[in-house]
């Protein structure tokens, strides 16, 4: 600019100034150290304290690792080998590796099955987690995975999961079929289905009312139990009164819906899946299996253990609790006071009590609430309780996502004439879920860590395995650091990777097209 006359204000640049490197100041390690470690008296003190801490931890732990014994059959042998030196006895990990990872009852020749299931989990999860990198077609893998994994881990005939998957697909086909029917055809169908469903419902209500009266008569109306006595009597009478009107109404409603197809399609599809699951599945899968036997050795649930149990509980419960959480979140947003109230009470109750008490419920109480002679095995009861637990937390995350959606999205959907189900499915949920994913992943990590609590109710997950069969065995009676350290390491690796993924996702969402 120096050649521009000062008094001449008008100026037109005729040539670009080329970029030049920044002025060289002192660079390199010394500058970095001075700026980052010793930039003032306070920082210097902090640095020195930190260095001291690191050095003392490393120097304390190093010999323990360095002297570690990897080959021994018992803790006594370990002590003999160490001969008084400080050192770890990693031999327990070698000796009890199978127990720590698979539990002590999973058949040894089937260890490959959970391993394959785990590797497939990575493959199946990838398209769902990294939607942009993998083609969408791979989502089919994700859909198939639960059935495959069930078969691999629990064994039995492959036909069972295949047929369950088949029934679900078939239900979808029934749905489409009914939807596509001509209106007069659908009216006939709706008449039949409405009649059946109405009668069935009335019968169930009749049973329920009888049950309520039975409860009331068992409570007896004296002393403190007057209120529950009255409540159950009243509920019983109420239900008796409702039997016939409800049956008629529901039947009628289904019949009425024939024109636009709504209810009758859903109910028929549900009927179809119920009949398939309840009556066709067992015999058909047995028949298929006798023709083409595709069978793995069946492993009962209670034989699952070790880290594998944590993984099973974690993945199953998170997967199940997402849909449940969506329902709860939508219910909590509802303007119907009763439905909203039920959801709020459920969510706040579950979030207000520790998981461990819910596990106690699974362990010692649930049996009293189920019909006599139903035998839910412990793992199933635990899955139910943990799913309830995490669904409440996921519901809150999703509620946050729903609240973050602008009101205009609801209005636009309404003004286009979409109904509640369509708008929720096509407009609201896809956006709300996307916002909620990092939160859901955080809940999932927390839940995965909480699966260790099942050790408190005598299940042999990795912590239960350590505290039970390993520490109480004759060979490894007082071994702590090595096994707990190993368990901590396993959890760290899994949880850290997931939380890194979650952070990556959050960054992705920030730069997303929105």
């Amino acid at each position: 600019m120096s050649d521009t006359p000062a008094q001449n204000v008008a100026f037109v640049r005729t040539s670009e100034i080329p970029p030049s490197p920044p002025p060289t100041r002192e660079t390199g390690a010394i500058k970095w150290i001075r700026e980052n470690l010793f930039s003032g008296w306070f920082n210097t003190i902090l640095t020195l304290i930190a260095l001291y801490l690191v050095i003392s931890i490393v120097s304390g732990a190093a010999p323990w690792f360095y002297n570690g014994v990897w080959e021994a059959d018992s803790i006594r042998e370990c002590r003999d080998i160490l001969a008084g030196k400080t050192g770890a006895c990693f031999a327990v990990l070698v000796d009890r590796w199978d127990h720590l990872v698979f539990g002590f009852k999973y058949p040894q020749d089937a260890y490959w099955r959970p391993l394959v299931a785990f590797l497939l989990l990575l493959v199946a999860a990838a398209p769902a987690l990294f939607g942009k990198i993998f083609p969408r077609k791979m989502l089919i893998l994700t859909a198939i995975y639960p059935f495959l994994a069930y078969w691999l881990i629990w064994g039995g005939t492959l036909w069972l999961p295949v047929l369950v998957a088949g029934s679900i697909v078939a239900t979808g086909l029934v749905f489409r079929l009914v939807e596509g029917m001509a209106v007069n055809m659908r009216q006939i169908l709706a008449g039949v289905v409405g009649l059946l469903f109405g009668l069935g419902l009335a019968w169930l209500l009749f049973k329920g009312a009888a049950e309520l009266v039975f409860i009331a008569s068992n409570i007896g109306g004296s002393g403190l139990s007057v209120i529950p006595y009255a409540v159950f009597w009243a509920a019983g009478i109420f239900t008796y009164v409702c039997v016939i009107p409800m049956g008629i109404f529901v039947g009628y409603a289904i019949y009425q819906s024939a024109e636009d197809g709504g209810l009758v399609t859903i109910v028929t599809a549900l009927f179809a899946i119920y009949i398939m699951l309840a009556y066709l599945l067992g015999p058909v899968s047995g028949a298929f299996n006798s023709i083409i036997p595709l069978e793995l050795q069946a492993v009962p649930s209670r034989d699952m253990g070790g880290f594998m149990l944590c993984m099973i509980l974690g993945t199953v419960c998170v997967t199940l609790s997402v849909p449940l959480g969506i329902v709860l979140a939508l219910g909590r947003q509802s303007h119907m006071p009763l439905i909203k109230g039920v959801c709020v009470v459920f969510i706040e109750f579950v979030r207000g009590v520790p998981l461990i008490t819910l596990l106690f419920v699974a362990n010692v109480m649930l049996a009293y609430f189920l019909p006599p002679e139903t035998s839910f095995d412990l793992i199933l009861r635990v899955i139910i309780m943990i799913t309830m637990f995490s669904s409440a937390y996921i519901a809150e995350v999703i509620r946050g996502g729903l609240a973050a959606l602008p009101k205009g999205q609801y209005e636009a959907a309404n003004s286009l004439g979409l109904n509640y189900v369509q708008a929720t499915r096509l407009i609201i949920l896809p956006q709300a879920l996307k916002i909620s994913i990092p939160g859901i992943v955080n809940v999932a990590v927390g839940l995965f860590k909480d699966t260790t609590l099942v050790s408190v109710i005598s299940m042999f997950d990795i912590v239960g395995m350590i505290r039970g069969p390993i520490q109480q065995s004759t060979d490894w009676i007082s071994i702590y650091w090595e096994v707990y350290g190993f368990a901590a390491l396993l959890f760290f690796v899994v949880c850290y990777s997931i939380s890194q993924y979650s952070q990556w996702l959050e960054r992705q969402l920030q730069t997303d097209h929105r």
Binding site: P406, Q409, E411, A412, S415, L416, Q422, Q431, R514
Partner: protein
């Protein structure tokens, strides 16, 4: 103005609003609204903020409920019967101030969503219709982009096209240009003018007085929940009768 006269207005009644009232809690937002709209009529509603003009048109497609009086659209009475509401909504298209495009869907998907799910149009057919309207609003090349990648004016034009895909007989516009930069207002207004020239029945809440002069048959001025004055645009702008209208016009045209 001359053009406006050319546009056809039939004798058929599109919307009848009779003695309609609405309250938010104890606040009386709409008071005794009476309005009849002929098919093909283009009405501009203006007024200061909080005068109830948005609420009025939102009542017409049941985004807001009215508590007293009646609204009849194309002979269908707007009652609490959901079937009637669905019918009216499929007759009436709406454009919002903030476009309200669905950000997780591409432009094409935004356009075909309602035809496929509400009208049960086959997907292919719906896409053809969508492309037709995209060409009409002059952005067919953006079909596979997401709304976030478009400018505000383009987004609003997509929103108009989205409404048109449902083949509505009436279009409602709720301040369609007030969230836009000046450069983009014109492209949206051009689209609306084009639509008006095709004879669409339109109710438009806007402060674009130029637009009102050019296409409206009638301008309605609202204040404090009431219709204060309505007239043909020329008369409305040149010889307003009410003092309130004069004040409003002097403020809005003054600068």
């Amino acid at each position: 103005m001359a053009e406006a006269a050319k546009l056809q207005v039939s004798d058929e009644v599109a919307i009848t609003i009779h003695n309609m009232n609405k309250w938010y809690g104890t606040f009386h937002v709409l008071r005794d609204i009476d309005l009849t709209v002929q098919r093909g009529e283009r009405i501009v509603i203006c007024g200061p903020s909080g005068s109830g003009k948005s609420t009025l048109i939102r009542c017409i497609n049941a985004l807001e409920e009215h508590q007293a009086g009646s609204i009849e659209v194309d002979g269908t009475l707007l009652s609490s019967d959901l079937k009637n509401i669905d019918k009216i909504r499929s007759e009436v298209g709406m454009c919002f101030q903030h476009f309200n495009l669905f950000p997780h869907l591409t432009i094409l998907e935004n356009l075909t969503l309602a035809p496929i799910w509400v009208r049960k149009t086959p997907k292919k057919e719906a896409e053809e219709v969508a492309m037709h309207y995209l060409e009409k609003v002059k952005i067919p090349d953006q079909a596979d982009k997401y709304p976030g990648q478009l400018s505000g004016g383009q987004q609003q034009r997509v929103a108009i096209a989205r409404s048109l895909c449902m083949k509505p007989r009436i279009m409602l516009f709720d301040e369609p240009t007030s969230a836009l930069d000046p450069e983009m207002i014109k492209e949206v207004l051009d689209t609306m003018i084009e639509l008006a020239e095709e004879g669409m029945t339109m109710l438009c809440v806007t402060h674009e007085m130029g637009f009102a002069r050019q296409v409206a048959n009638r301008v309605i001025f609202m204040d404090e929940g009431q219709i204060v004055e309505q007239n043909e645009p020329e008369a409305f702008f040149l010889t307003p009768k009410s003092d309130r209208t004069k004040l409003f016009l002097s403020q809005i045209l003054g600068h």
